[in-house]
Amino acid sequence: MIPATFDYFRPETLDEAAALLAQHGEDAKLLAGGHSLLPSMKLRLAQPRVVIDLGRIPGLNSIRESSGKIVVGAMTTHREIELSSLLAEKCPLLPEVATQIGDVQVRNRGTIGGSLAHADPAADWPAAILALEAEMVVFNRGGERRIAAEEFFVDLFQTAIQPDEILVGIRFPVTSRAVAYSKSAQKASGFAIAGAAVVVHARNRAVRIGITGVSARPYRASATEKGLKGKPLTQEAISAAAVSAADGIDPLNDIHASNEYRRHLALVNTLRALELAASRC
């Protein structure tokens, strides 16, 4: 449980971090909460030559409202999201997801940006990011750009973040209370075997559903969304639509859940999240 030798940098500014990243390129790993990176370094599954700790850069750890959007800094911990009164009021799906991540100790260290950049297919945040149609804000020496949720997740542990880019924040819309997250957790790790996040847009009778844990890449349950478009969220409508929550998906298969069971749990959790969100309309 001892990592391979590496150089450690702790930049004080974002520019400094971006410069280090540009200099070291793929030899470098960014350290946020360390809850995925450090264990894999200790097992020597990851052996970066350079670790750049983002922990002292001011401004990355914040939750604020800015011109009608909610902006969460990448270094904001799960626990801070869980306890945020601003989010409870303006984007309640985020605290609801946060409470279902790991345990309090994990939530005190782990960050939303670290989790998203790591892109573990069983992490909880991707479901919320997709359902909320969030935007990821990334930074390099050339400045900032935004990546839409649908384009962000590329594959197993792969995102659209370029090697010289740092995820600095996530922009969320303000939502009503009609949101929900339902998850079947892997018993040992607590990660999602299947997790479904639902956002109901009551005004235009649309729902957005993000699903994590089921396939190599988190996805939007488009068929279910389509099935509910323009309809009142009755029990019948929800039940009929939820069965398509894994259409066209090739589920993962491991000792914790077969692909068949994963597919089933995608449907069950979609149904449950829809019911819960509908009850909050």
Partner: protein, 776 residues
């Protein structure tokens, strides 16, 4: 035996005196030891389950800065003996268990080479520089396939995968089966488990070349047994070996063993003349510390229409992994012996086949063979009741021996010391509000829920045991010394590592000497202090170690009485001992206490003629029989029809472990045991794939029960003293793991019964249940 009425500690719930140091983080575990000049080791382990080692290149590793040496089997094995197994079986075939792999590896995690370095970092870096060329060989992973003709062999030189066979048989089995109205059959799998003590193993060996003496600090349950066994491996006599078990962070049987790493570090310390430290990582712990359970049994039960169970016939395959560890072959024999549970029957036969596979060895894990037995017999009772349409409670009551039938001779040849099975069952039913619970179940079922109620009435074997049935003595040793100041040192040969005997033994000693508990220090776990002992396993420590201490006190009191008579100028027969004071009969004001007596005994200026100075005695206690604790657990569960998940709604445990020294400790043991059971019943399992790769080598993949998994327990007890020891204690360290697993399993199967599901094997994973529901 005189017990002080004044102190009255026995039977009181007293908080553990061990806890403050543990809670404050100031206890000393092996890894906390910092000996000057310590060298650190790391072990290179096989990534293959079965392979030939073609070559090992250690040059680059040895050249790394900070590395002192890199050693392989060629360097080490000629200088170390083979790892011994203490258990016997008539036809036992044993491969040579060398300290490091000898040209071939037999499981993932098999030690191949060892690096010794100035620090852990250099040692770890050096591991990556060792180049091993393996030629992978066919893997034996499934114990049933291992028995088929043409299966690859785990150890080709043995010519078979069968390690041993063992049978227990009594009564006229064929006649009983001929009399049966019906023969009920069931196959049951008892899955492999990983003990996962929170503190992994580790040791520090320090050889003193001047004295030719070795001290080994190791995270173990059995320093004394190691002191007996290690000389044969490293060539130092036992009186030059000191073994210390410092604070031990959990054992559960996984540290009831002598491991190759202990011999390896001892040898390296002698060879390099420096203290050697090895600390196991979690991944190593999962792959190279013993596993538990892993049996497949085929059971046939001969029954009469009225439910009378005539006989049981069982064939069990025990997957014992690649090597014999200390007690490996003995574990499934405990299953055979305990198979009748707490029931009368006329005949029994169980044939055990121990099978080698390319996996880590199995050995004693909390319950050690008895959870397999209690699970089998308690599932059998429910299956018989279900198949014959009988009430499961009445069926159990019908087969209980009555309290006046004890000592009760079982169909498997054991003699149960004492029991009142009906009393625990009735008490548990009362605490569970049985009739209301069944009504609630009916209501829940009507509303479409899968609601189950499960019962198990278990019995187990503890306080192991009379020496004639043990491999290396089953007695226990103790020593009590009244110090010159009047303070008391009690030294025990058992090695508590979480069980709380520093507290419970202080209670016992305080009561018997009539002194405050605070005046007593209980020493354990160091063979230079506790010279002899047979350590802690098999829920033996309090019944046997506690009794040894009382025997010491009886000797001390007898001696002190002579001194008191001398000092009080009275006849010995006129001096009585009461509540910590020696009094002269008829003149109670003429008395003398321990402080004065101790001072006189050690100053030795005014002693009776031929009186040895000092106030100290040691004793060996040899039990006449084991003890047989028992109890009833009742569980209510709800199964989620859509996901197959199980939720525990109610949990009632009534246990009878005889007299209780400290009910708080008893409750803690039962609660912890139930937690272990919950894991086994619902989600824990060690998974190897067909290539012998371990897929559950981390806490990311091996689930242990967590606080939120644990239901609120309703706990109770009955007291049926054991006649096997003077305090009437039975033992409780493993009871929870033995009683609870079948109760939970029976509850889940009861929940699924309306769907026509008869039996599912452990663990009752949501997906397994979901499939069973949807296969209907």
């Amino acid at each position: 035996m005189t017990v002080s009425k004044r102190t009255g500690y026995f039977g009181k719930s007293i908080k553990r005196v061990e806890d403050p140091r543990l809670i404050k983080g100031i206890a000393t575990y092996v890894d906390d030891l910092r000996l000057a000049g310590t060298l650190h080791t790391m072990i290179l382990r096989s990534p293959y389950a079965h392979a030939k080692i073609l070559s090992i290149q250690t040059g680059a590793a040895a050249a790394l800065e900070g590395v002192v040496g890199v050693f392989t089997g060629t360097d080490i094995n000629p200088n170390c003996g083979l790892l011994p197994c203490a258990a016997e079986a008539p036809d036992l075939k044993s491969p040579k268990h060398t300290v490091l792999a000898n040209g071939r590896v037999y499981y993932v995690g098999h030690p191949v080479a060892v690096v010794v370095a100035a620090d852990r970092y250099a040692a770890r870096d050096a591991l990556d520089l060792i180049e091993v060329d393996y030629d992978s060989l066919p893997v034996v992973s499934d114990p049933e396939k291992a028995l088929q003709d043409g299966s690859p062999l785990t150890h080709p030189e043995l010519g078979t995968n069968v390690a041993f066979t063992w049978s227990v048989a009594s009564g006229d089995l064929d006649a009983e089966f001929a009399k049966a109205d019906r023969i009920i059959k069931q196959r049951m799998v008892h899955q492999r488990l990983t003990p996962m003590a929170i503190e992994p193993r580790g040791c520090v060996a320090s050889y003193n070349a001047g004295d030719g003496a070795l001290t080994l600090w190791t995270s173990t349950q059995i320093p004394h047994l190691i002191r007996t066994l290690l000389p044969g491996m490293i060539g130092i006599p036992e009186n030059r070996i000191r073994i210390v078990a410092p604070e031990v962070g959990g054992g559960f049987g996984s540290k009831l063993n002598l491991y190759v790493e202990e011999a390896l570090c001892s040898h390296l310390s002698m060879r390099l003349k420096a203290p050697i430290k090895w600390i196991e990582s979690r991944r190593e712990n999962a792959m190279a510390t013993i596993h538990g359970r892993d049996q497949v049994g085929e059971y046939e039960i001969a029954v009469k229409k009225n439910g009378t169970i005539l006989a049981i016939r069982a064939k069990t395959i025990a997957d014992i992994g690649s090597y014999l560890q200390l007690l490996t072959p003995a574990i499934p024999t405990l299953t055979g012996l305990m198979l009748p549970g707490c029931y009368k029957m006329n005949a029994i036969r169980m044939d055990v086949t121990g099978v080698y596979t390319h996996k880590m060895s199995t050995d004693a894990y909390r319950g050690a063979g008895r959870p397999e037995a209690s699970y089998a017999i308690e599932r059998i009772m429910d299956l018989v009741a279900a198949d014959l349409g009988l009430d499961r409670i009445k069926l159990r009551l019908k087969h209980f021996p009555k309290p006046d039938k004890f000592p009760f001779h079982t169909a498997s040849g054991l003699t149960y010391d004492s029991g009142n099975y009906r009393a625990t069952l009735k008490k548990a039913q009362k605490l569970a509000s049985w009739d209301t619970l069944l009504k609630r179940q009916a209501k829940e079922r009507k509303s479409g829920k899968l609601f189950g109620v499960g019962v198990s009435t278990y019995v187990e074997i503890c306080a192991l045991g009379p020496s004639k049935m043990m491999a290396a003595g089953g007695w226990e040793w103790g020593c009590v010394r009244i110090e010159m100041s009047g303070k008391v040192t009690a030294i025990t040969g058992v090695t508590p590592h979480g069980q709380g005997q520093e507290t419970s033994f202080a209670q016992i000693v305080a009561d018997h000497l009539g002194v405050p508990m605070e005046d007593i220090v209980v020493c354990r776990g160091d063979t230079s202090v506790a010279h002899y002992g047979r350590d802690t396993y098999g829920s033996r420590a309090t019944a046997l170690g506690g009794t040894a201490l009382i025997m010491c006190i009886d000797k001390i009191v007898a001696k002190a009485r002579q001194l008191a008579a001398h000092l009080l100028r009275a006849k010995v027969e006129d001096v009585v001992f009461r509540d910590g004071q020696f009094l002269v009969k008829g003149a109670p004001k003429t008395n003398i206490g321990w402080a004065t007596l101790a001072q006189e005994a050690y100053l030795a200026k005014n002693l009776p003629a031929n009186f040895e100075p000092g106030l100290e005695a040691s004793s060996f206690f040899e039990p006449t029989n084991c003890t047989y604790p028992f109890g009833t657990h009742i569980v209510a569960v709800e199964v989620d029809r859509s996901t197959g998940e199980v939720k525990i709604r109610d949990y009632v445990a009534v246990d009878d472990c005889g007299h209780q020294v400290n009910p708080l400790l008893v409750e803690g043991q039962v609660q912890g045991g139930i937690a272990h059971s919950l894991g086994q019943a619902l989600f824990e399992r060690t998974v190897y794939d067909e290539e012998g790769q371990l897929l559950t080598g981390e806490f990311m993949d091996y689930p242990l029960p967590r606080a939120k998994d644990i239901p609120d327990y309703v706990m109770g007890s009955t007291v049926t003293p054991s006649p096997s020891n003077p305090m009437g204690i039975k033992g409780v360290g493993e009871a929870g793991t033995i009683g609870a697993t079948p109760a939970i399993a029976n509850a889940v199967m009861d929940a699924l019964a309306p769907l026509g599901i008869r039996h599912l094997d452990l663990p009752l994973l949501p997906e397994k249940i979901w499939r069973a529901i949807n296969d209907r």
